[in-house]
Amino acid sequence: MSTTSHHVPDRLQSSLQRRLKSWESLLLVVAVAIFLANSFASPYFLNAWNLSDATFNFTEKAMIAFAMALLIISGEIDLSVASIIALASTAMGAAVQFGADTPTLVAVGLGVGLLAGAFNGFLVTGLGLPSIVVTIGTMSLFRGIAYIVLGDQAYRGYPESFAFFGQGYVWWVISFEFVLFAIVAVIYGVVLHKTNFGRAIFAIGNNPTGALFSGIRVSRVKFILFLLTGLMAGVAAICLTSRLGSTRPSIAVGWELEVVTMVVLGGVNILGGSGSIPGVVIAAFVMGLVTFGLGLLNVPGIVMSIVIGALLISVIALPRLWSYWRRG
């Protein structure tokens, strides 16, 4: 072609400029504001142990939210995560009745999570069914199994060493769960933002046909994402069961919506194609701080859910206003 080639720069905006104008920075401002508001509103807020306790409000949900973020970016969703927790927890409780030790319980929890994720993944990628319908179905199915097994009973008697996952502290006020949350956050952040697999997720979410025509194994990637989401639900099931010390079939009821809220609040496009793990991390803190702050102020649970709902709607509305600001 023509020999006089035009110079096309790599980038117009520096990465610092882009970071400053990003959704994450806005969210960070919100998080700091809530933190300040909380510390003025309650004298008990700025207490290391209280803050440490507060992290339990979000660590388990956030670990699922990271996998869910990848899944939603790829254009799919898994609404069965809370029910996978119930199923995995029930399976662990049943294993305890057969005298399973802690390593076996962990294997059971993770294994059930993986199996449930594989089941969802097969229905979506193998049979080509829409994930929202499939996982609404498995949401009832998985929890239904837990109810059939347990009825109004509960499994107890978890081994003492099992309590570490949900109640143990690694150092001072730093809980095992919080450390796990941080590690998982880094892993998912690296996978999404620094690997070929992550790039494929964005490509699929933006245009599945185009991704297929670009040589990406779309079904395989999506299947892996369902597996990962199931696995993280299994991890959450271990932590939550360990923290509660018992399993009831109603365990983690309604968590799927809180997880999705966290993901969307973190700036992940619910239609797929964009989002970031740092965003979800900040969103996890925001939600944790809001619930904890309201709890300290003795706000009843129903009001808390109103606040979370309002938060979600403002988050969906804000990007529109945000884009005007960015253009200006």
Binding site: M1, S2, S5, H6, V8, P9, D10, R11, L12, Q13, V190, K194, T195, N196, F197, G198, R199, A200, F202, A203, N206, N207, T209, G210, A211, L212, F213, S214, G215, I216, R217, G273
Partner: protein, 509 residues
């Protein structure tokens, strides 16, 4: 006769245009899309609007149809100044447009699509379905389209969808019909029918604005021409008074070699052999071989199964049987990744949906199939990605603000360059180009052709699926003609004439 009488002089003066633009300027923040352009549409005449991509043709169409408001200038209807504040106002003034990508509704029936928004009503004010079906039938018959008005639109091929769009335009009693690339998706036969249709519309005294990149069409059908270049008016006149070359020169502002690059025929080793390749519904018994350095043309009517066969080779659709050998080795292709790994790549016809991921930056589009090379142990390396993207976009002379720009902001020609660059970056052995110059302007077209010749000279084996006879004839070493899913002829270089191609494609023996 030496002296003209007054009356005769009046006869040759043009009639009042039904619709005219006078001194129209349209600015967007930072861009002047149109600068002081004028355009006149006369009753019973076809005016061709000619210009490269980016010349401002689409903006004019949007102003005429009330989607954009001009920044300056006047719109004249029957000589009096008017405004179209909304699309509905333009429609009420009898202006209808058949767009490049007309908005139709896949889930609705053909009849519903035709009459959406102006359906016939019965005396209860409800939609008169029987009348709607009957009127749809009449309109479709009138344009020679064999389409069931009750069929769901999504079950129709792209060519038939286009005919539905035309039928919709006809169902509105329009005075001005704007046809924006109406033949882009049509087969030879359908194009002939469209020409007849345009003649009919002319006979009814309608004014037609005809936008096309195809010069043979313009000379076949238009009475007048108006040329835009870079948002400016550069000339108008009667088609009868202008030559092809003069019009091209007006359009691009320079001489464009209207010839295809001369190149020696490809005589390399056989790289691809396909034998007895079958699909349950789309194609059967496909067999051919391809040499390195060769350009093999695939000609046929729309729906002949060319794209489907190529997409099977690329692993998009699964063939039901057959053998593929690359460099003599039999290969199995189950997924696009298999094809790409074996050195077969495919540049699809539909850039926006299949070719590129337009919401993502240029460099990420280009490296997407090559990530295994730019990355290290699965971790992305941005510097390597930019380097790869830079190498190939420079080679294709891509015009863009930056490599981080989203592909959706590029013109059609530049989008096509991104898609081609993306696949060349994988260092393929075989590249399949499906309608590589469809919908891109003459300048970019010549550049793509030249580049194809360059690639062939470097030893790449090229399959070019094209429905444009001049392109197929000008670029191919050999041409395979398909009809109804089968190969009906292989035409050697010396036997290639438009007549042979059309006869084979249409099944005339």
């Amino acid at each position: 006769m030496i002296y003209q009488t007054h009356a005769e002089a009046e006869d040759v003066s043009p009639p009042i245009p039904i619709l005219a633009l006078d001194g129209i300027t349209k600015t967007f923040p930072g861009v002047k899309a149109l600068s002081d352009v004028s355009l006149s549409l006369y009753p019973g005449q076809v005016t061709a609007l000619v210009g490269e991509n980016g010349a401002g043709k689409s903006t004019v169409v949007k102003i005429l149809t009330g989607i954009y408001q001009p920044t300056e200038g006047r719109i004249l209807a029957d000589g009096t100044e008017t405004r179209f504040p909304t699309a509905q106002d333009a429609a009420d003034a009898g202006i209808t447009a058949i767009h490049q990508e007309t908005v139709l509704f896949d889930e609705l029936s053909v009849a519903e699509n035709i009459f959406l928004g102006h359906a016939p009503r019965n005396r209860f004010g409800l939609i008169d379905w029987a009348a709607m079906a009957r009127m749809s039938r009449e309109i479709l018959d009138g344009i020679g389209a064999e389409i069931d008005p009750g069929a769901k639109l999504r079950d129709l091929g792209i060519a038939n969808k286009h005919l539905v769009a035309i039928a919709r335009a006809l169902s509105i009693d329009a005075r001005v019909v704007i046809m924006d690339e109406p033949t882009a998706a049509l087969s030879h036969k359908e194009i002939q029918e469209l020409y007849e249709l345009v003649e009919q519309l002319k006979g009814q005294g309608k004014a037609i604005l005809f936008i096309s990149h195809k010069f043979d069409e313009i000379f076949r059908i238009a009475d007048n021409y108006t040329v835009f270049r870079d948002g400016q008016f550069v000339g108008e006149g009667k088609i009868a008074d202008v030559t092809n070359d003069a019009l091209v020169k007006l359009m691009v502002g320079r001489e464009v070699a209207n010839i295809f690059p001369a190149r020696p025929p490809g005589r390399g080793d056989v790289v691809l052999e396909v034998e007895n390749y079958n699909h349950p519904t789309e194609f059967a018994d496909i067999g051919f071989c391809l040499r390195s350095g060769e350009i093999l043309g695939f000609y046929g009517l729309v729906g002949a199964g060319r794209s489907e066969a190529m997409q099977a080779l690329f692993g998009i659709t699964r063939a039901s049987g057959g053998t593929i050998r690359i460099d003599g080795q039999e290969v199995t292709i189950r997924a696009t990744a298999d094809a790409a790994n074996n050195g077969i790549v495919y540049v699809p016809e539909d850039r926006g949906k299949q070719g590129a991921i337009i919401a993502m930056p240029i460099f990420q589009n280009i490296t997407l199939p090559s990530l295994s090379r730019t990355s290290h142990n699965g971790f992305i390396r941005l510097a390597e990605e930019f380097k790869l993207a830079r190498d190939f976009t420079e080679r294709l002379d891509l015009r863009a603000a930056s490599l981080d720009t989203k592909v959706e902001s590029l013109s059609g020609g530049n989008q096509q360059k991104v898609v081609i660059a993306k696949w060349l970056a994988t260092m393929p052995k075989i590249i399949i180009l499906d309608e590589p110059t469809k919908g891109i302007d003459i300048g970019s077209k010549a550049a793509v052709h030249e580049f194809m010749a360059e690639l062939a000279a470097e030893g790449l084996a090229i399959i070019m699926v094209s429905s444009e006879i001049p392109e197929v004839l000008g670029m191919s070493d050999r041409i395979i003609v398909m009809r109804e899913g089968r190969i009906v002829a292989e035409v050697a270089h010396d036997d290639m004439t438009p007549e042979t191609l059309v006869r084979h494609a249409a099944g005339i023996t």
